[in-house]
Subunit: 290 residues, 2 copies
């Protein structure tokens, strides 16, 4: 049970977490914080938070749980600003898509309070953003990855684990760098490919005509290109090394495909497509297709 | 109204077309044809066709409409085999995803009967294949592109247009090479990227673990990698030139992205992602998201 939950950045993720926890009666009071009072006012009207403060030192006062759900580029400033106002037994966590950069930001910003911080990442979201898009079921049966490091208090990890489980998620623990490698492959690479494909097509001749002939496969394939550009630019910078390795690996595979098409190598194409279909079908078996 | 419709290749597309036309009462009799009698027997049991013959010269006998729905690599052999058995007033069309190669195959296989052939391509489908996956609504509000050439009889074009409209589709006409360029960009490129991404990921360390952390965006992005490998190897060979140009263009754009990530150029990333999001959102406005 949380007495005062403080959510910094009340968007799709922060808003959905608040909705889920309130639905379960798991927190008495939720205070929102961000730089934009009109967004926070809207979150109050939507019943997502109880009240808000745009001053971070006031917003975190007396909170026993703080969830930082701001873009990666803003993390360190948020940690630095909250540090002097933290309650004694507070637990702090975040929802950033890249963990090494957040760990670094938390160390620099929280200093001696770093032990109260649990790096976290819910593997959930949609291509939409903002509190209007938030809903309490977002985390149901989704994975939340926690990447505690040596200094992290075990009770803080337990508190964050219980919070996410209450929101309906399955919580797993990974090493920081392993998280970043896996997410670069499964999430960050597909997003940059989708953005690049749409960019590539938008440059071709009459783009309205081109998009007009796109079918369902294209719609699904490019849905993630509607994601928030600021958030994704931040992720590219924050998870720089792992993403660059994933992009480089993909480029090598695409070069192989290019030359298989160029030399008309039917067998090579069949082999590649068959392996990929098998891997994708096996993956889909464990998922609920919608 | 069609007296005898002959569908060669009774899979997702051929089966769905037959279902749609029968539902509208638009054809008196549907004969299926393929090399596999057990598939055809299944199609009869499902009520998709009335009867079948694995001998193409018998199957097309007396047909006033023939729809060739076989993989691109099999087209020419099918055209060659049917030619001696064609009825006088028959109209022939196909559903291939690449048109220049089909036009060539039809010229070589149909010879003097080439004037009765209307190259066609329904922009519809799912990642599933086979007659079991067919359904009568597949073409509702979908585009069907016809690419008639100089020799094609105008009445043949009209007959094919009316057939697809009866199945619920919107019929448009394009030049052969323009069709192939547009489809390379909107369909063939996304498919080979999805196959390549899954292949790329399947090679990384423990692939089951990697796929385990994939979220909804990945699922949507890679759905088309579950498509039929034979069909897609054929498309890569058949639409060789246009696809190679599209892949090359994408590689250049991906190189630019790679170097923007490498040098940590936030502005370049923001610009690219913002342009892509705008183009994708504008495209989505005209579509029904599911």
């Amino acid at each position: 049970m949380i007495n005062k939950l403080c959510i910094i950045g009340v968007g799709l993720i922060g808003g959905s977490l608040s909705r889920a926890l309130r639905k379960q009666g798991y927190c008495k009071h939720v205070t929102g914080c961000s730089r934009d009072a009109s967004h926070l006012q809207r979150a109050v009207e939507l019943g997502v938070i109880d009240d808000y403060d745009t001053d971070i030192t006031k917003a975190v006062q007396g909170a026993d749980m703080i969830v930082v759900a701001v873009p990666l580029g803003a993390m360190q400033a948020v940690f630095t600003a909250m540090r002097p106002a933290l309650a004694e037994h507070v637990v702090i966590t975040d929802v950033g898509s890249s963990k090494a950069s957040v760990v670094e930001a938390a160390k620099a910003g929280l200093v001696e309070r770093y032990q109260d911080f649990v790096p976290g990442h819910p593997i959930a979201g949609t291509e939409k953003s903002g509190v209007e898009a938030s809903f309490s079921e977002l985390f149901l049966q989704r994975k939340v990855i926690l990447t505690p490091i040596a200094e992290t208090r075990p009770e803080a990890v337990e508190a964050v684990r219980t919070m996410w489980q209450t929101a309906g998620a399955e919580v797993v623990a990974l090493e920081v760098s392993h998280h970043d490698d896996v997410l670069a492959a499964t999430s960050h690479l597909p997003h940059v490919l989708a953005f690049t494909l749409v960019e590539s097509m938008a440059q071709m001749g009459d783009r309205d005509e081109i998009f007009q002939y796109a079918a369902g496969g294209f719609r699904d394939f490019t849905r993630i290109a509607s994601s928030d550009p600021v958030m994704w630019a931040d992720i590219c910078l924050a998870n720089h090394d792992a993403l660059l390795a994933a992009v480089t690996g993909f480029q090598a595979d695409l070069d192989k495909l290019h030359s298989a098409i160029e030399r008309g190598d039917r067998q090579a194409l069949m082999d590649l497509f068959t392996r990929a279909k098998q891997a994708r079908d096996r993956y889909a078996e464990g998922q609920t297709e919608q």
